[in-house]
């Protein structure tokens, strides 16, 4: 028992290390002759990069002060954009050989030109995505964009991407997605020796680690959980109130700790850094380029896309499935696409009989003390509704 608990702890440490030291992983990759390219959005088909021998590293934004970037962008654009620019301008992302920015929202599109003009990375790429996905010309354009992307990556590395490499990359990513989903479902039962904050960190680690190695480790980790459960060692801790987190990029483990502190359990999510990233797989039969285009087009949408039905029905499904009693909506400041959807999403959630709380965030929930009070009050309402208290 003790041995297995210890082993679980060690595996967890190892997984979280990727999250804590992305640069170490990147440097190791480069030392072996590979290239490392940053990206900002889950619409970037990473499979293509991996097939070209490039390590994709997702830039998750940071919570430090923003100073240099203030001379480039006014404060009314989201923190992910401003903090990424800050990191670029202050040479904190110098370990990257390049950066891929996709045209999702206006701020991201504009960040691209500012980045190219002011930060020295050798491979910059604008993935010029369509914003609408409901008509035939949008779909045809998307396919052209994927093909152009492949051609540019090939031009950068100086070698063609072989079909077998692309197939292998797709299968590596699919395997990761299946395990990430399994992990997500495993933690529904609240009996794992794992905090919500660490659960988040492991999910974030997947963005910066080499996918095959990470997936191997994740598989071993999940294997230990299963063994642990089979040994009859169910967690003794009392069940907490399950809540769903809705939002985009969430990178602040402290927020998850606070939710737990007030008696909540982050059970499900529809985050861009959570389920929306790993949910959909790529078809492994047939033409791989077609399959990739199909996957990224039909995946759970980002609020920057039109129409939004796909995301809102996904979100409601996750809430129903997890049995979350309440939903915490993290409204990222200046994220126009999200902010436009919040009122209607809230109505749909409330129609399920589930309460919701909307918080203003800047990658991190702002006003910490007030935040604890609000979270406490919210979880309290949920408990009372349940008649637990």
């Amino acid at each position: 028992m003790v041995a297995i608990t210890q082993e679980i702890e060690e595996k967890k440490r190892s997984l979280i290390q990727y999250y804590e030291n992305p640069q170490v992983t990147a440097e190791a990759w480069k030392a072996k002759g590979g290239k490392v390219v940053g990206y900002l959005c889950s619409y970037v088909p990473e499979e293509i990069l991996l097939a070209a021998g490039i390590l994709p590293v997702r830039i998750l934004g940071h919570l430090d002060d923003i100073s240099v970037a203030s001379s480039y962008f006014q404060p009314f654009v989201c923190r992910l954009i401003r903090s990424t620019l800050e990191k670029g301008l202050t040479k904190n992302l110098a370990y990257l050989n390049g950066l891929i920015i996709s045209y999702t929202c206006d701020g991201m599109r504009m960040l691209y030109d500012t980045w190219v003009a002011n930060v020295n990375t050798e491979f910059n790429y604008l993935l010029d995505l369509p914003s609408s996905l409901d008509r035939m010309p949008n779909l045809r354009y998307f396919q052209r964009i994927i093909k152009d992307f492949i051609a540019s990556v090939e031009a950068y590395t100086g070698r063609a991407i072989k079909e077998e490499d692309l197939r292998s990359a797709i299968s590596i990513y699919n395997r990761y997605r299946r395990l990430a989903k399994e992990f997500y479902y495993l933690h529904f039962s609240q009996d794992l020796p794992l905090s919500s904050a660490d659960f988040l960190k492991i999910n974030l680690a997947a963005f910066v680690a080499p996918k095959d190695k990470f997936t191997d480790e994740l598989e071993a980790y999940l294997g230990l959980f299963k063994a642990w459960r089979n040994s009859g060692a169910a967690s003794q801790r009392p069940k907490m109130t399950p809540v769903h987190i809705s939002g985009s990029v969430v990178v602040d483990p402290v927020f998850f700790e606070l939710v737990e502190k007030v008696g909540g359990y982050v059970i499900s999510d529809d985050l861009c850094t959570g389920t929306r990233y790993f949910w959909d797989e790529v078809e492994e039969e047939g033409d791989p380029i077609q399959a990739l285009a199909h996957r990224y087009l039909s995946r759970v949408t980002c609020p920057s896309k039109y129409p939004a039905e796909n995301r809102s029905s996904f979100l409601l499904d996750r809430i129903r499935e997890s049995g979350a009693r309440g939903v915490i909506i993290l409204g990222e400041k200046f994220c126009d696409p999200h902010l436009f959807e919040i009122p209607s999403v809230r109505k749909r959630i409330e129609a399920l009989g589930v309460s919701s709380l909307c918080l203003e965030t800047e990658l991190v929930a702002t006003g910490r003390e007030q935040l604890v009070t609000r979270l406490e009050a919210f979880v309290d309402i949920l408990k009372r509704k349940e008649g637990i208290k």
């Binding site: 001379s71 480039y72 962008f73 006014q74 009314f76 654009v77 045209y103 929202c105 206006d106 701020g107 599109r109 504009m110 030109d113 500012t114 003009a117 010029d128 369509p130 914003s131 609408s132 409901d134 008509r135 035939m136 010309p137 949008n138 045809r140 354009y141 052209r144 152009d148 609020p303 920057s304 039109y306 129409p307 939004a308 409204g331 400041k333 200046f334 126009d336 696409p337 902010l339 436009f340 959807e341 919040i342 009122p343 209607s344 809230r346 909307c358 203003e360």
Partner: protein, 427 residues
Amino acid sequence: MASDTKKIKKGRVLQASNKAPQILKDYWEKLHKAKSEGKKIAWVSGNAPAELLWAFDVLPAYPENYAAVLAAAKLSGELCNIAEKEGFSRDLCSYARTNLGIVFGEKSSLKDLPFGGLPEPDILVTTRIPCLTQVKWWEVIRDRYQIPMFSLDAPFSTTVETSQSGLEYVYEQILDLIHFLEDFTGRKLEEEVFSETMRLSDKGSGLWNEIMDLRANIPCPVGSREMCGNVFPLVSCLGTQVPVDFYTDLRDELRDRVDKGLGAIENEQVRLMLDNIPYWHHLSLLSDVEKHGAVFVFETYLRYVWGGRINLQDPYRSYAEKVFTEVWLNSGLDLRKSMLRENVKKYAIDGVVFLSNRSCKRFSLWQLELKAFLEKELDIPSILIEGDMADPGGYSQEQATTRMEAFLEMIKKKKEKTKELRGIAKI
């Protein structure tokens, strides 16, 4: 001449401008009348291909333009509050919040709106060309009214030459929009009507460009505030006879003024450029400078948001090209720099006023970079004035005026110094 001047409204220099308020009134009356007769109304974003709607006899209504009217009448603040109560963040675009205040507001609270309010839409046509906000805002409207919506998508223009991939994409969507409108109206697009619409659109835009060009003359024959009041027919009626007639008169009058050497102000000392959507709630910001010998002679908002020529030999493709190119908001950073360079020279600009408008990321986010570019590469001073186009909250006209005056003083001194240096060089 003296009796002529009397007819011109205070603050205006052109007689033709007197017709603008009537055109605006007629337009909204026409829309309400059409609605009551069972005709279809489309709510349309700026830069959406409205000519096609006119060709299908679907009447385009512009919530953005209407929001600007409300802001100028100081009525937008209350509507923004309604939208906020509905859950829409204060950080969202104030045009959108003003409109959503109407969409979600109680009917009784809206009865006193100008021009009888906005007629409800039957169909929605939007586009990402000016911004993604249009698309997401229109989606909220679509959910509210449960009506068909079409969103025209486009990449940014990054070079003077049109990207073929982007052109192909927009062209395919224009054809698709025609199908969409055929399905909606139940009838085919008539080629003849389409050609005539394109011809009128091109003519209206051509006249507008001529007017903008005439303002490059020294002294500049008409200032910014008056021209902001004259842009409406271009925004809403391209493809009809209305802008053609209106801008023909305007152009002729401007030509006449230029021939006579008449300027918007008597002693023009400083020529200014304006960037961004005007702060409609305090338009005097644009005319107050005239007391100090300065005049706004060029605006990115007036020159590069609407208009654009169409090659009538190849109308579909050319229409697609005009829709997404030569649009400031849809232009990349380098392209904006080159457009600035060109117009600073052409209009003999002494200084640039950037309105840092928190409602409009597309207009605002590169301003700091453009400011540095102007100073470093073109030796043109500029200032940034913070505010919001339709939400007056947090904006101080007093502060803006003080800063503007200091800016004008600085420009005058700089010009004086240049003159002196030139004098020395001659000796």
